[in-house]
Symmetry: C2
Subunit: 344 residues, 2 copies
């Protein structure tokens, strides 16, 4: 059931500017990746192609009130995620060049939702960026405004585009809301678009993903590629994965990030052994590959969520605090590389 | 339905050490406050007395695996909270004097839960602190361990006790998990017990709360008292509230914190007016009261969640990032006052 809402006019969001899609799909405006073009065997990966993590709708409106009504496909709740991250949204407004949070679109417990996001504004035109649900397929979305208000597409503020391919950490578990995933935050902070291609638990250096990334145009690629594969998978797949990417994008920076230490490994001896082997495997191979290829980079170090075990929700996935620490540690190193390629 | 669990022995947690209760209640080991002694008219306040926000179970075990099975009373999900904050738990283990997160107790979607928290440990005795659900009544809790393992009460590590009375911010919305509320984090950081007496949305300087706090023994009191009442309530109730507390605890520090700026007020002109009036009212009255009473202190400033609007989940409630910023700004000022009273 829709919540009560008092907007007088609704605009289909698919008619506005949509950013953050890697490979848009006809008829599915909020999909990140076209599942007819990339036919993943794994059903979870196919679902995730449709989840608009990192996708945002851009528009300008002079309405005093902004609402949303939307529908999501059924899916279960995650114990380590907020409903607003999974199936809600958050709105940013740009003022004096700075994006500031204006409000959240509060999801209901079922699949049809309606929410006032912000009200009592001054009626001057506002540049808006609405981040879509990170962990649900979005079937419909309408923006609600005052009767006489205008709603027009806003041009993307981003000149450069960096694809971030990764695990749940990239996908956004367990940021508090969609706009707090680290690619979204880095985009607002830098003015460079970091496109979210996170596939929670399923980012395993698969050849299908190498093909998708090889065929995707971007100014640079950032990889959180070592959080999901086993050490064995890394040994078997990494060389070919990197070779495919280097061949497709010979002049583009390809930046690989080390995965994070799992706090559970502080006490769980088997977890510690597994994570240590994975980190060491990635470290050794990436140091070799970074030497082998001019445009391949490796950001080493596994402590970016902090050494005090307070940066994750579950010893594994970052909270907003963990991601803030990650950005503080990783972003300066990423920007230093990007600047060498004129990406700033 | 219980999840599969493989512990071989269960211990009733109510037989172990329980900390964080303000006024324990016979027959309800996890209640923060005895609702037969303090009969609040408001049903939400009565419920919250039973929610073990900030309550923790302390024990030592040499088990290689720690599990939990527990039941919570039915309640709805919050759109801006994780299930693990609402009805789950998180475990810390003390090593070399430092508490480190060992694992989360993952709640199910209904009211009966079971979860492995940590496994494959080394079998040496471990000092454990398990934070209980912040937003549900906990009906039963058993700690599961290996067949031959011992489980014994662990003495509280805290000498001094500071009652933190407040709103949802103190209660814990929207920390990622129970151990990440700001009183819990400040306790681990300082070795001083900050007891959580947060009543989300219902901390309005009521006389019943003044009576509860007057009759509660502690070394100091910290107040997040201006996030819920209207400016009118503050004007009508604050003087009497402070006078009652000063009379009951004439030699104890009573530290009042300013409330936070609501980011929604950056755009919502009515919200801005309301929050500005509330902040100004509290500021003016508290400056007077801090002069009037020797042991009454006021921590001014409303920007402790940050000026960049990234510290909250919904323009109002802190995320782990917001609380981290709050602790960085407030805790040094709090400790400076406490040190004057030998509380360290």
């Amino acid at each position: 059931m829709f919540h009560a809402a008092s907007a007088q006019k609704y605009v289909d969001a698919s008619t506005l500017t949509i950013i953050g899609r890697t490979c848009p799909m006809e008829g599915h405006p909020y999909y990140r990746v076209d599942t007819t073009r990339y036919r993943f065997d794994n059903a979870t990966i196919r679902h995730y192609c449709g989840y608009p993590a990192g996708v945002a709708v851009l528009f300008t409106t002079d309405s005093r009130r902004i609402e949303a009504r939307w529908t999501t496909a059924p899916r279960s709740y995650g114990w380590n995620m907020t409903p607003v991250l999974q199936r809600g949204m958050d709105l940013y407004v740009r003022e004096n060049g700075v994006w500031t949070m204006a409000g959240a679109a509060r999801p209901g417990l079922q699949d049809r939702h309606a929410s006032t996001i912000v009200e009592h504004m001054d009626g001057q035109p506002k540049e808006c960026m609405l981040y879509l649900p990170a962990w649900s397929e979005l079937l419909t979305l309408e923006i609600g405004v005052d009767e006489g208000a205008s709603v027009t597409p806003l041009e993307s503020p981003y000149k450069h585009r960096v694809i971030v391919f990764g695990s749940s950490v990239t996908h956004g578990a367990s940021a508090s809301r969609p706009g707090m995933t680290y690619p979204a935050r880095m985009s607002r902070m830098t003015g460079i678009e970091f496109v979210n291609l996170g596939y929670s638990g399923n980012c395993m250096l698969q050849p299908e993903f190498a093909r998708l990334l090889a065929e995707t145009d971007a100014d640079a690629f950032l990889f959180d590629a070592f959080s999901n594969p086993s050490p064995k998978m890394i040994r078997e797949r990494l060389d070919a994965f990197v070779a495919t990417l280097v061949k497709a994008h010979p002049d583009k920076p390809l930046i690989f990030m080390q995965t994070h230490w799992h706090t559970a490994g502080n006490l769980d001896q088997e977890a510690a052994k597994f994570h240590r082997e994975r980190i060491d495997t990635a470290d050794g191979m990436m140091r070799r590959l970074a030497k082998q290829y001019d445009n391949v980079y490796f950001l080493d170090g596994e402590w970016f969520f902090g050494r005090d075990a307070e940066g994750t929700i579950d010893c594994d996935h970052g909270s907003d605090l963990g991601y803030d620490r990650m950005i503080s540690e990783r972003l300066p190193r990423i920007r230093k590389i990007l600047r060498k390629y004129g990406i700033r």
